[in-house]
């Protein structure tokens, strides 16, 4: 089934078509489960004026943080930022815009974007700055705000294993935002640690079905740890 083979030959090919001003949805939480090499390719490519939708913005010199170095990011849509000094500097200088979005709302906005749900109501953020200017509606005596879905021109995703048809599974908590991001890109690019043949993954245990995946590539990952906490053996 050649038509379903999503594997591309290079990172350049994986991110082909990314242009200035586009919106990119990225999986990952902190530095866990981030598409390291796809981010690096965006840096290499030098695409500018990007809107990045991601729960966090990496750290200085790693993850999405590297896109700040050449000011490639115009706007971040995130729930928690500021783990890096460059981010803070650009934000205070007005060179970077941030739209803070509650973490659960952000996850749901991505899912809704992929699922053809243009908007949904949530109690999260009602009565706060997040709710300002948004439609309020009461259901069963409680007030909710209307949140619109998010779609990206590209979605960049980090999986663990995938078959050539783009059926992806994630490893442990590196799953996080990746499955929703995968559904919400006009072009969804997935990088994984291992590509296997179709049939090797159990059909009932696929986290991201191949229908969502446009391009697939196998990479090497540093997997940097943000908070290394250990106990004595």
């Amino acid at each position: 089934m050649s038509g379903f083979d999503k594997v591309v030959g290079s990172y350049e090919e994986a991110m082909a078509g990314l242009e200035d001003g586009m919106t990119v949805i990225a999986g990952g939480f902190g530095l866990c489960g981030i598409p390291e090499n796809l981010i690096a390719e965006i840096k290499r490519k030098g695409t500018k004026e990007l809107t990045i939708v991601s729960n966090n913005c990496g750290v200085d010199g790693f993850g999405l943080g590297v896109l700040l170095e050449d000011r490639q990011v115009k706007k971040m849509i995130s729930s928690y930022v500021g783990e890096n000094a460059l981010f803070e500097k650009q934000l205070l200088a007005g060179e970077l815009e941030v739209e803070l979005t509650p973490q659960g709302t952000l996850a749901e906005k991505m899912r809704a974007g992929g699922a053809g749900i243009p908007a949904f109501y949530t109690a999260t953020g009602y009565g706060t700055l997040v709710g300002e200017g948004k439609d309020v509606r009461e259901f069963d005596g409680r007030k909710y705000i209307l949140e619109e879905s998010i779609k990206g021109d590209f979605a960049i995703v980090k999986g663990w294993k995938a078959d050539r048809f783009g059926n992806v599974i994630y490893r442990h908590t590196a799953q996080n935002f990746n499955p929703m991001a995968a559904t919400a890109g006009k072009i969804t690019v997935v990088e994984v640690e291992e590509i296997v043949e179709p049939g090797e993954l159990d059909p009932t245990q696929i986290h991201t079905p191949g229908i969502y995946v446009d391009r697939l590539i196998q990479g090497n990952f540093e997997k940097r740890i943000e908070q290394r906490t250990v106990r004595q053996a």
Partner: protein, 218 residues
């Protein structure tokens, strides 16, 4: 005397029940896990996508793909499950978590909470806090009664940007355990050796003091 961080965690741990699914915020709330009563089991939910968080890993066990919402390396307990962040917040938003414990800068008599942003300082973001306070029925706010400068954090009206409106009913401070009812704090318990007068003095919002205010016992 004001409660220590450990005593605060111990007092909150008394609200646990066997079989509770619990979300503990960063900071003092995390310590609650150390004081789960004997013979009782709770399962910790971590909002990045983990139900059944275990202790920190040994050096050998450390795995970059296994972290908690504080981005710390962790392990899982037997019977844990791991899922997407959308599923995780479906649990939280849908009210499936039995108890949520989190810190705050301010709480007021309407049950409003401010915990994520101090204007003028850099805004790092609310993370999952807004979802947690909006989704949970059973929330305990754990914070010092007054700021370092001696200003009360239990107010008539929050001054900082809110994390959630009208969602807090229980507050444990280093001085007292209070519940919020009908637009007032109700003093339920006081820390050992702390006088009702001190609590009255350090509570800016309307405070109802019942005839009897038992002292916590540790």
């Amino acid at each position: 005397m004001a409660l220590s961080r450990e005593q605060m965690a111990m007092r909150v741990a008394r609200e646990l029940q066997d079989g509770y699914y619990v979300n503990l915020g960063i900071g003092i709330p995390t310590l609650v896990a150390n004081y789960v009563p004997e013979g009782m089991d709770v399962m910790l939910q971590s909002e990045n996508g983990l139900l059944g968080m275990g202790q920190f890993p040994t050096e050998e066990e450390v795995d970059a793909d296994m972290i908690n919402a504080g981005k710390q390396t962790v392990t899982t307990v037997t019977g844990a499950s791991i899922f997407s962040s959308a599923e995780s917040f479906a649990m939280i938003r849908g009210g499936h978590v039995d108890l949520t414990v989190l810190g705050a800068f301010e709480v007021d008599i309407e049950g409003n909470i401010a915990s994520y942003m101090i204007p003028g300082k850099l805004i790092k973001g609310m993370g999952g806090a807004m979802d947690l306070v909006a989704g949970a029925d059973n929330i305990i706010v754990l914070m010092t009664h007054a700021s370092k400068h001696g200003d009360s954090k239990l107010l008539e009206k929050c001054t900082l940007p809110l994390t959630g409106a009208g969602c807090i009913k229980k507050v444990l401070t280093d001085l007292a355990y209070l519940e919020i009812e009908d637009g007032a704090f109700v003093l339920k318990e006081r820390a050992p050796g702390v006088s009702v007068e001190e609590i009255v003095e350090k509570t800016a919002g309307k405070l109802i003091v019942p005839d009897e205010v038992p002292e916590m016992v540790f």
